[in-house]
C-alpha cells in the first residue's frame, strides 16, 4: 500500500513536490478484477439506479474512512481457544443438564383422552400462552354502544384478537419509535417503565387466565390486572429518575464524550 509519509529522495514529504503524480486516489484493485465502475455499466432502469446508488454508497464509505480518527488494530480480547470455547461448553452443558434434570424430576402427564362431548371445567394452554389466554378474557372492557341498545360492537373473541394485534404491533414498532443512542434503562426511564409495565401486564394477564386458581374475587383480579402494571411502571420511572443523576455521574467519561446522551 502507498504510504503518504514515505520520505522522498531529498528527505522531504511534500506531496506537491512529487513529480510522479503521487499516490492514486483510490486503492488500485487486483489485476484480474475489474473495478466496480469498469464492470458492465447498466444503462437503464432500476439496474442503473441501483448502480448509481451503490457508487455513491461506496464513495461514502471511502469518505467516512478517510475522515475517521478510528485506529484499526487487532482485537485484544478473550481468546477463542481455549477460554471462550470452554466457557461456551460450560454454559451449554450446564443448560442441557438443567433441562435433563427438570425433565427427569417433573415428567409430563398423560391427561384424559380427548372427548368432544364433555367440556372440562378448566381449559388451559401451556404457561407461555397464559397471557394470550388472559387477553381473551377481557370481555368486561369490551365497549358497547348505547345506540345499539348496549350491544357490543365486536364479539369478545374478536376483541381478544384485536388486543393481540395491538400488542404485537406496538412491540414491532418499538425500534421505530425509540430512536437515539441511549442503551441503559437509566438513560431512558420512560422506555424502561414501559417495558416493566409490559412485563407485569403479561404476568397479571396470565393470572387473569388462571383466575379459577386465585382466591381473589374476579372483579378485584380484573382491576389489579391493569392497576399493577401501571403502578409498576410508575415506580420504575420514579426509581430510575432518582438513580439517574448519580448513575450518570459515575458513567465512563469517555463514553459520554463519544456518545452524548439525548
Amino acid at each position: 500500500m502507498t504510504d503518504e509519509t514515505t520520505p522522498m529522495t531529498d528527505g522531504g514529504t511534500d506531496e506537491e513536490a512529487r513529480t510522479d503524480g503521487g499516490p492514486p486516489a483510490t486503492v488500485p484493485p487486483d489485476d484480474e478484477t475489474p473495478t466496480w465502475s469498469e464492470r458492465k455499466e447498466r444503462s437503464q432502469g432500476l439496474a442503473q439506479l441501483t448502480y448509481q446508488y451503490f457508487e455513491r454508497s461506496r464513495r461514502e464509505d471511502e469518505d467516512l474512512r478517510a475522515e475517521s480518527t478510528y485506529v484499526e488494530r487487532d482485537v485484544l480480547g478473550f481468546p477463542t481457544w481455549p477460554h471462550e470455547t470452554i466457557r461456551n461448553l460450560a454454559i451449554t452443558s450446564f443448560f442441557l443438564g438443567i433441562i435433563l434434570l427438570v425433565a427427569s424430576i417433573l415428567p409430563s402427564h398423560f391427561g384424559d383422552p380427548a372427548n368432544p362431548g364433555s367440556t372440562p371445567a378448566i381449559i388451559l394452554p401451556d404457561w407461555y400462552l397464559y397471557w394470550s389466554f388472559g387477553l381473551l378474557k377481557l370481555s368486561p372492557i369490551n365497549p358497547e354502544l348505547a345506540v345499539l341498545g348496549g350491544n357490543i360492537i365486536v364479539s369478545n373473541e374478536l376483541y381478544g384478537l384485536i388486543a393481540h394485534g395491538a400488542i404485537f404491533g406496538v412491540i414491532t414498532l418499538v425500534p421505530f419509535l425509540n430512536k437515539g443512542n441511549a442503551r441503559r434503562p437509566v438513560e431512558e426511564p420512560g422506555w424502561a417503565a414501559l417495558g416493566v409495565t409490559g412485563v407485569i401486564l403479561a404476568i397479571t394477564l396470565a393470572a387473569l387466565a388462571i383466575q379459577n386458581f386465585f382466591p381473589v374475587p374476579l372483579e378485584l383480579l380484573f382491576s389489579l390486572t391493569f392497576m399493577l402494571p401501571i403502578a409498576g411502571g410508575v415506580i420504575t420511572y420514579a426509581v430510575l429518575k432518582t438513580m439517574r443523576e448519580g448513575y450518570m455521574y459515575d458513567l465512563n467519561r469517555r463514553y459520554y464524550m463519544l456518545r452524548p446522551p439525548k
Binding site: R65, I99, P113, N115
Partner: protein, 269 residues
C-alpha cells in the same frame, strides 16, 4: 469510526433531485434503507468478485474501547440467552425426531366419544412401552418450555439494553416473528397428544379463527382443516409441527444469527 452522524452523503436529497417515477422512488428508498443497515453494497460486490476484497475489519471491541473489561462479566448470562434458546431448540428437534418414530397422528380407534384415539394410544405407548420413551417425551416437553422461556427473556434483554435500535430494526422484527412462530410451535405441539386439554385448546383456536372477519373461515380451513375438530385438524397440526415450522423457523433463526454476525453484537454496557 466516529459516532457523529455524517450528512455529507445525503442520499435522500440526491433521491429528490433525480426526478423519478413512483416505482423508482419506492425501489431506491427501500434499497437505501436496507443498504444503510446491512451494507448490501459490500456483499453484492463480494458475490461478484467471489472473494473478500471488501473492508472486513475487526473493530476494537466495545469492552476494550470503554474499558469495561472487568465490569460487565456478570451480565454475560443475559447475553447468552439467544444461544440458549437455539440449544434448547436443537435438543427439542433431536428428541422430537425420535418421538416422531413412534407417534401416529390419527384420531382413529375411538369406538365412542372420549375413548383413546390412535394418537393418544401412541403417546401412551411411547411413555409406557418404548425404551427410554417416558424420559424422551419429558425431555422434548421441557426443552420446548426452556426454549420459550429463553426466547422471552432474550427479548426482554434486547429491549432493556436498547439493542434493537438502528441499525438492528430488521432483526428485531425478525425476532418478533420468531417469537410468534415459537408460540405456534408450542401450540401445535400441545394439540398432538389429543388429550382433553389438547382438544379444547384447539377448540379455542378454531373459535378465535372463526371470530376473525373476512379471513377467519379461510384460516380455520387452512390451520384446522375445518370448523369442527377431527382427523384433519390433527394431521394439519402434525404437518405444521414437524414439517412446516421446523423449516421456516430454522431458516429464520439462520437469518437472525446471520444478521447479528454481519452487524456485530449490540454494544453491551
Amino acid at each position: 469510526m466516529s459516532l457523529k452522524k455524517q450528512d455529507d452523503m445525503d442520499h435522500n436529497a440526491w433521491l429528490k433531485s433525480q426526478d423519478l417515477t413512483a416505482i423508482e422512488t419506492a425501489f431506491l428508498t427501500t434499497l437505501i434503507w436496507l443498504d444503510k443497515r446491512l451494507r448490501i453494497v459490500d456483499y453484492l460486490e463480494l458475490l461478484e468478485t467471489m472473494y473478500y476484497r471488501a473492508n472486513l475489519q475487526m473493530p476494537k471491541s466495545h469492552t476494550e474501547q470503554y474499558d469495561l473489561d472487568n465490569k460487565f462479566w456478570y451480565w454475560y448470562p443475559l447475553y447468552s440467552l439467544g444461544s440458549l434458546s437455539i440449544i434448547a431448540y436443537l435438543l427439542a428437534a433431536v428428541s422430537g425426531a425420535m418421538l416422531g418414530f413412534y407417534y401416529a397422528p390419527s384420531t382413529a380407534g375411538a369406538a365412542a366419544q372420549g375413548d383413546p384415539t390412535a394418537a393418544y394410544d401412541s403417546m401412551v405407548m411411547i411413555m409406557q412401552d418404548v425404551q427410554f420413551g417416558f424420559m424422551l417425551r419429558s425431555i422434548h416437553r421441557w426443552a420446548a418450555q426452556f426454549m420459550v422461556a429463553a426466547v422471552f427473556l432474550h427479548m426482554l434483554r434486547v429491549y432493556f439494553t436498547g439493542a434493537y435500535k438502528e441499525p438492528r430494526e430488521v432483526n428485531w422484527i425478525l425476532g418478533v416473528v420468531l417469537i410468534a412462530l415459537t408460540l405456534l410451535f408450542g401450540f401445535s405441539g400441545y394439540v398432538l397428544p389429543w388429550k382433553q386439554l389438547s382438544f379444547w385448546a384447539a377448540q379455542i383456536g378454531v373459535e378465535l379463527a372463526l371470530a376473525t372477519p373476512i379471513v377467519g373461515e379461510w384460516a380455520a380451513q387452512l390451520l384446522f382443516g375445518g370448523f369442527t375438530l377431527g382427523q384433519a385438524t390433527l394431521v394439519r397440526m402434525y404437518i405444521l409441527h414437524v414439517f412446516v415450522l421446523p423449516f421456516v423457523v430454522t431458516a429464520l433463526i439462520a437469518i437472525h444469527v446471520g444478521i447479528v454476525w454481519v452487524q456485530g453484537i449490540a454494544e453491551p454496557h
